[in-house]
Symmetry: C2
Subunit: 319 residues, 2 copies
C-alpha cells in the first residue's frame, strides 16, 4: 500500500490503514509529511474528549462506558490510549484487549493504544497527529485516554476540546491532581466509584478546589459528576455534561480557539524538530562543533555559544 492509497483508505475508515498510519506516527516515519498533507482538509471535524486521572480511578472502565453512551446516540467513536512515559506499548495493549471484548464486534468503535517513542520526552506531535488521522477517518467522537497524571499526560489530555478529570474516593488524588495542574485544565470532573466510602468527601474536596481556581473561561464552571462506571451509573449524565461543554465551546467561539491552540502546539513541535535537524546538519553542524569545543575548553559558556548559534541559524535582521 503506497502513501496515497494509505491516505485514501484512512479517509474511508479502513481499520488496517488506520492501524498502519498510527504506527507510522509512533515511529515518526518520513511518510508522515505526505500523509498529513493528504489528510489536512479532512481532519479536525471530530469532537475530541480527553480523560485523565491517577492510575486506579477507573479511566479505562469509564472510557469504555462512555463509548457505550456515545454509541447509544448513534455516533461513531475512536479511543486513543496514550502512554507518554513509556517507550513500549506493552501495558497499554493489554488494556486494549480487555476493553476490546466489549466493543470488538461494533463497527462504529475503533480502539488504539499509542506509546510515545523517539527522542527524549517523546514525540510531542504524536498525539495530535494521531487525532488528525482518526479525525480524517470520519469518527464523530474521539476519546483520548492518558495513563498517568504527569505533566506529559496533562499536556496531551489538555489538547482535547473537553478535558475530563477523574478521581475516586480515598485516593487523596484530588490533592495530587491539584498539584499536577490537572484541575486547571478540567472542563468536567468525575468522582468515579461513587458507591464507595468517602465519595462525598472527595466530592466536597473537589468542589472546594474548583471554587478556588481562577479559570480563564469565566463562563464555564466545571461540573462534577458522580459515576459508578463499571455499572454504567452516571455515565449518560457525564456524556451530557461533555456535550454541554462542547455546545458552550461552539457558541462562545472557544472551540475554534482551542483547535487553533492545538494546531499551534503541533506546528511549533514540528518546527523545533526541523530546527533540531538543521542544527545537526552539515551547515550549522560545523558551527555547533566549533562552539561545543569552545564550551568544553572553557573559552565560552553554553549560553553565549547558543546565542551565536541562533545568530547563525536565523536571519541577522531578527531580534
Amino acid at each position: 500500500m503506497n502513501t496515497p492509497q494509505l491516505v485514501d483508505r484512512v479517509r474511508a475508515g479502513d481499520r488496517r490503514a488506520l492501524a498502519r498510519a498510527i504506527t507510522l506516527v509512533e515511529n515518526g516515519a518520513p511518510q508522515l509529511r505526505e500523509i498529513m498533507a493528504g489528510l489536512a482538509e479532512h481532519a479536525g471535524r471530530a469532537q475530541v474528549v480527553g480523560f485523565t486521572g491517577s492510575p486506579g480511578v477507573g479511566k479505562s472502565t469509564t472510557t469504555s462506558a462512555v463509548v457505550r453512551a456515545v454509541r447509544d446516540k448513534g455516533l461513531s467513536v475512536a479511543v486513543l490510549a496514550v502512554d507518554p512515559s513509556s517507550p513500549f506499548t506493552g501495558g497499554a495493549l493489554l488494556g486494549d484487549r480487555v476493553r476490546m471484548q466489549d466493543h470488538a464486534t461494533d463497527p462504529g468503535v475503533y480502539i488504539r493504544s499509542m506509546a510515545n517513542r523517539g527522542h527524549l520526552g517523546g514525540l510531542s506531535w504524536a498525539a495530535p497527529h494521531a487525532l488528525r488521522v482518526l479525525g480524517a477517518a470520519g469518527f464523530d467522537v474521539i476519546l483520548v485516554e492518558t495513563v498517568g497524571v504527569g505533566q506529559a499526560e496533562v499536556a496531551i489530555a489538555g489538547q482535547a476540546d473537553t478535558t475530563v478529570v477523574l478521581s475516586a474516593p480515598g485516593m487523596g488524588d484530588a490533592v495530587q491532581a491539584s498539584k499536577a495542574g490537572v484541575l486547571e485544565i478540567a472542563d468536567v470532573l468525575v468522582v468515579n466509584k461513587a458507591d464507595r466510602d468517602g465519595a462525598r468527601v472527595t466530592l466536597r474536596e473537589l468542589r472546594q478546589m474548583v471554587a478556588m481556581k481562577d479559570r480563564e473561561d469565566h463562563e464555564w464552571k466545571p461540573p462534577i459528576e458522580m459515576t459508578v462506571a463499571d455499572r454504567g451509573e452516571g455515565v449518560g449524565d457525564l456524556w451530557e455534561r461533555v456535550r454541554e461543554h462542547y455546545d458552550h465551546l461552539s457558541a462562545s467561539g472557544e472551540l475554534a480557539e482551542r483547535r487553533r491552540a492545538r494546531a499551534r502546539e503541533e506546528v511549533q513541535a514540528i518546527t523545533l524538530d526541523l530546527l533540531r535537524s538543521r542544527m545537526a546538519g552539515p551547515e550549522a553542524g560545523k558551527g555547533l562543533d566549533r562552539l561545543a569545543a569552545d564550551v568544553a575548553d572553557g573559552r565560552t559558556d553554553p549560553y553565549a555559544a547558543a546565542d551565536t548559534l541562533v545568530g547563525e541559524l536565523t536571519d541577522s535582521t531578527g531580534p
Copy 2:
C-alpha cells in the same frame, strides 16, 4: 547574595552557594546565564562517572561505597542524584538523607539530589549545568546517579566520562538493560549483590551481550566487576576499572571528544529553548498564529506550516 558573589562562593566550594546554584538550575532561573558565564573557565576539570541500572540493583549503596573508595585515594567527590522522570525532589531527597549519614561529617564529600522540572521532558540541560557548577567548585570526581533505566536516564548517565551500568542477580535486568540501550553506553559493568544466587548467570548473560555489541570504541572492552556494595566488596576494584577507563580516554583523546559531545548537547538544548521562546515571541508569534489557524481550518498541514515558519525564523539563504 548577588550573582557575582554566588559565582565566587561556588568556586570556593561553599556548600550553601552550591545548593543555591543547583536549585537555580532546577528552576531554570534567569540568573543561570550570568552564573554559567562566570563559571565557564573553571568548569570541566572533574572526572565525571555515571551510574545507572534498574531500581533495586543497589545504585545508592554502590555510589556510597564508591565515594569511600574515592576518598581513600585522597580525592574530593560530589554526588549528583538525578530523577529525570519526576517533577518533585521528594523521593530523591530521602535517599540523600540516608546516604548522608555515612559521609555527613566529611568535608570532601558533597551529595545533592536534583529533579528535572520545567516543560515537557524536563530541562535537558539541567544535568550538564549541575555538572558545570560542581566542576567549577573544584571537586576531583563527580558521581552522577540516575533513578531508573529509561531513555532519559540513559541520556544523563551517557553524558559522563565513564558510564557504569549496574545489574543484580535474578532481576532479568540484563535483558531489560539491553532493551533500553544501556549496554551500548556501558564502559564498566557491575554485577552487584554478587553473593546472591544467580550472580554467575547474570555475569554470563552480560558477557554474552557485551560480546555481541559492536561498540564505537574498539579499543575498550567493557570489564564486568562483581561487587557486594553493602559490604564494600569489589568496590575498590570497580574504582580501579573506572580509573583505567579514564586513563584510556585520556590517552586516546576520546576524553576531549566526549566532553565536546557533552557541550554540544548542552548548546543544542539551550539553542532550542531560545528558538522556542522566539517562536512564542511577538515577532514569529504572529506568523505562528496565522499558520496555526490555517492548519486548524484544514487549509494546510502542520508540516507545510512548519516549513513556512522555519523560513520566517531563519535566513532565506539557508537550505
